[in-house]
């Protein structure tokens, strides 16, 4: 990518801040675009590692009986697949989008704290090495599930401590990134870019950043208590010393449920940019979108125990969490309706970003329906810890977060690299992914309804056929992502393809389309003067 970014030679102060070259440019990076690129490449790498783990899991489950791995290693695979995908792939990828797009969208010259931005990226590397390297520690990687429930964590080997340390570092990185995003958005908007004129991607990230600051320390607390239980004789969660294992779950899910929205709200922001662009029509209900996002964020703090219906809560607790959880369907529904109303009577075209956006709305909504079904406490008690739950959260995380990110890469990729992707290849990637995704995860609903528990290395033979389909689909889905990297991402990074115009999409709006493609290394060094809608630069 470095090769395609031209040196901005027309700046007077250039000789004081010469653009560094070679490894220094990346190691000492303070430029939001460079850091954004590194975040995206890092998260894609982690996505591939997590994907390989997923395929190892699916290979073992292709047939009943143990074929490739023993159950201990299998548990390590499921645990590390979850941790790597959540903390290594999805969360950093959205920070990468934020780094690239938020300064461009609000007319700021860079992120507010450029050096902290560098640190928050480079912290990811040791954390990721420690997390992935835990496979080579004595006893192998952590095998207590990504939720690392006590007291199973007490039985884990030294890699559990490495995992906890890695999560601490990733959490610190996330908090720094969030502070940076909040300060950038609140202080560095161009004159005239009032909060209620801000693009929704910036809005959703602003709210997400507050969620992150609120809950990452809670996770840190939970895993620190796990650490002291393991080594320093405390008994927070260890029943042998009078501790309460269920308290761990309460603390974990108080982090964990807002975390779910941390992984989806920025996706809503991306979709809210793409749907109006390709419908050539303004986003319907901008203000209600902002309020809906904020409502989801607030509600996310009072629903955590719906992950815990089977722990045996009092009946009032179950009822409270059931009703509170169902309420979340309301603002989420508002978002879906607004997107469809935006499409209604538009003048739509279906380039790849729009295909992914429509695919997102369609498949994510199916995950929403299963979420509604799971919110009902009695049904959840049947389905808790079965493949139904696995199907549900892959419908919202893969078809939700990941699809939105693909949409974003196709939408903003020309701005990042200065070249257009191949529309045919984009469509192959989309249709292949959509079909294989559903082959993989749709049968899992049936498995869950039939009672197949999750995190099982082997299963009764009645479950064989649906598992076979899921495995076939998973390999197809994995291949589509390799295709995406080799035939879409690499050519764009090498500058192969038609040169991208400044605004490749007819209906797109926003300040990012007011700068050339590829976006020069420095943009909006002087605050731009904006028109009344804060979508165009005037003079």
């Amino acid at each position: 990518m470095s090769a395609v970014l031209p040196h901005p030679g027309d700046h007077a102060h250039d000789d004081h801040h010469a653009q560094p070259h070679g490894w220094r440019r990346w190691l000492f990076a303070t430029n939001h675009k460079d850091i954004g690129t590194m975040y995206l490449l890092f998260s894609f790498t982690m996505f591939m590692i997590g994907g390989v783990l997923a395929l190892l899991i699916r290979s073992e489950l292709f047939q009943p009986g143990l074929q490739f791995v023993n159950p201990e290693l299998f548990n390590q695979f499921t645990t590390m697949h979850g941790l790597i995908m959540v903390f290594g792939a999805i969360m950093p990828a959205f920070v990468g989008f934020a780094n690239w797009m938020i300064p461009l969208q609000i007319g700021a010259s860079d992120m507010a704290f450029a050096r902290m931005n560098n640190l928050s990226f480079w912290l990811l590397i040791p954390a990721a090495l420690m997390l992935a390297g835990s496979f080579f520690m004595p006893g192998g990687a952590p095998a207590a599930g990504w939720t690392i429930y006590a007291p199973l964590t007490m039985q884990m080997g030294p890699s559990m401590d490495a995992g906890i340390f890695a999560l601490h570092i990733l959490g610190a990185s996330s908090i720094m990134g969030s502070i940076n995003i909040i300060v950038t958005i609140l202080n560095m908007r161009a004159p005239g870019m009032t909060l209620m004129k801000m693009p929704l991607f910036a809005w959703t990230w602003l709210i997400t950043a507050f969620l992150l600051i609120a809950v990452m320390p809670v996770l840190a607390g939970a895993i620190t208590m796990t650490l002291t239980d393991r080594h320093f004789g405390t008994s927070f969660f260890n029943p042998a010393g009078g501790g309460d294992p269920i308290m761990y779950q309460h603390i974990f899910w108080f982090f964990g449920h807002p975390e779910v929205y941390i992984m989806i709200l920025p996706a809503f922001g991306i979709i809210s940019a793409i749907v109006p662009a390709f419908a050539r029509k303004k986003l319907f209900g901008y203000a209600s979108m902002v309020y809906a996002t904020a409502s989801i964020a607030i509600l996310s703090f009072i629903v955590w125990a719906h992950h815990m219906y089977t722990t045996g809560m009092p009946v009032t607790g179950q009822l409270f969490f059931m009703y509170a959880t169902m309420l979340i369907a309301v603002p989420t529904g508002v978002k879906i309706f607004n997107w469809i109303a935006t499409m209604w009577k538009g003048s739509m075209t279906f380039e790849t970003p729009m295909l992914w956006a429509v695919g997102f709305i369609f498949v994510f909504t199916m995950g929403g329906f299963t979420g509604l079904i799971l919110a009902m406490a009695p049904i959840d008690i049947q389905l808790q810890d079965t493949y139904y739950v696995v199907a549900h959260f892959h419908y919202v995380l893969v078809a939700g977060s990941l699809y939105a990110m693909f949409a974003g890469v196709y939408y903003w990729g020309p701005k990042w690299t200065g070249v257009m992707y191949s529309e045919t290849r984009g469509k192959i990637h989309f249709w292949g992914s959509l079909i294989f995704f559903n082959i993989t995860f749709f049968p899992m609903h049936f498995l869950g309804l039939a009672g197949m528990p999750r995190r099982y290395a082997d299963y009764p033979m009645q479950f064989a056929d649906f598992n076979m389909w899921a495995t076939i689909g998973a390999f197809g889905f994995g291949l589509m992502q390799v295709y995406f990297f080799l035939f879409v991402v690499l050519p764009m990074m090498r500058g192969q393809g038609a040169p991208a115009p400044q605004k490749p999409w007819e209906g797109a709006e926003g300040l990012e389309w007011e700068v050339p493609s590829p976006a020069p290394w420095h943009t909006f060094e002087n605050p731009p003067k904006l028109d009344a809608t804060a979508t165009r630069v005037v003079g």
Binding site: Q155, Y323, I381, P460
Partner: protein
Amino acid sequence: MMTTKSSTWRRRVAQGLWMGGAMLAAQAALAVNSLPGGPAVNQVNLAPPVTRIAGDIQGLHNIMLWICLAIFVAVFSVMFYSILKHRKSLGHKSANFHESVAVEIAWTVVPLLIVIGMGAMATRTVVAMKDTSNADLTIKATGSQWKWGYDYLRGEGEGISFLSSLDSKQRAMSDAGKPEGDDYLLRVDNPLVVPVDRKIRIITTANDVIHAWMVPAFGVKQDAIPGFVRDTWFKADRTGDFYGQCAELCGKEHAYMPIHVKVLSHADYSAWVAAKHKEMAALADDPSKVWTLADLAARGEKVYAANCAACHQASGKGAGPIKALDGSPVVLDGNKIREITVLLQGVNNGAMPSWKQLSDTELAAVITFTKNNWGNKTGQVVQPSEVAAARK
């Protein structure tokens, strides 16, 4: 040159297709029938309910499916209509509206009413599921890595107590990758036995980590939490065998601790209780009995197979982080108290758990067995009285 190249290529493709086909055929060849009371082949919905609660849950699920389907059709017919008609390629010009307070209020309030309605439908069942009062029979289910222990606490059969673990052949088939049978991974040595049409209260707890006791046909799933007790209940409306599996990740053998509940008629249940009481009286060990090495080792082999072989292997060699017993310095040590302590208290933070729930005779037997099996030829005998002394 070209022809040879392309023919090799073709042969490779053919080989690949053949192998793929063979794998699919192998899959299809796994002959299996639906298991009554357990999973059906390619089952796509909840298990046929055997309790009122399970029936209520299925009813709720069906209603939810219809509501979701209706919303799905309504919302997406609008979206796909728009996608088909409002295209630039059809010359459709975009309209200019982008706000409507009335519409926004409507599609906030209507879904709000729908979800409150859904909650209201489920409330009665939530309350009913939690009502464990007035049980006819109370049974404690204790999860431990990786088996269930059942203690009949109150009601007919009070005092009965046994362990229920996976039939050991199942585990061997799993390791070999050659599963067989309709109850593969669901067959246990001692099923839980209960009478039909009686309210059975299950109290759950655990010895080591969290497990979950689930039987889909009963609509029951309750975590078993170490150090705490929780409860749930069911009242089966017909006799038969019903199956479930542990539903909370509990370590490496998580997939291998099934639940099998045998529901009997009242007469059969009473007969079973009588037989079980007799059997337990006969089996009760006199803890002061002095055993010979051969008898104790023979008894210990059974205890080992039921409790230890899952980790330490029948060969005593262990695997990976699991320590070998064959040639272990602790086992070979002349000081017998060392091995007794390991079994009573566990080591390595419970990676080797405490086995103090076994009787003095069982512990003495299994220790004697390990000290005199495989390459271990210590000739040492550990009597039950020595274990009893070490407990104090």
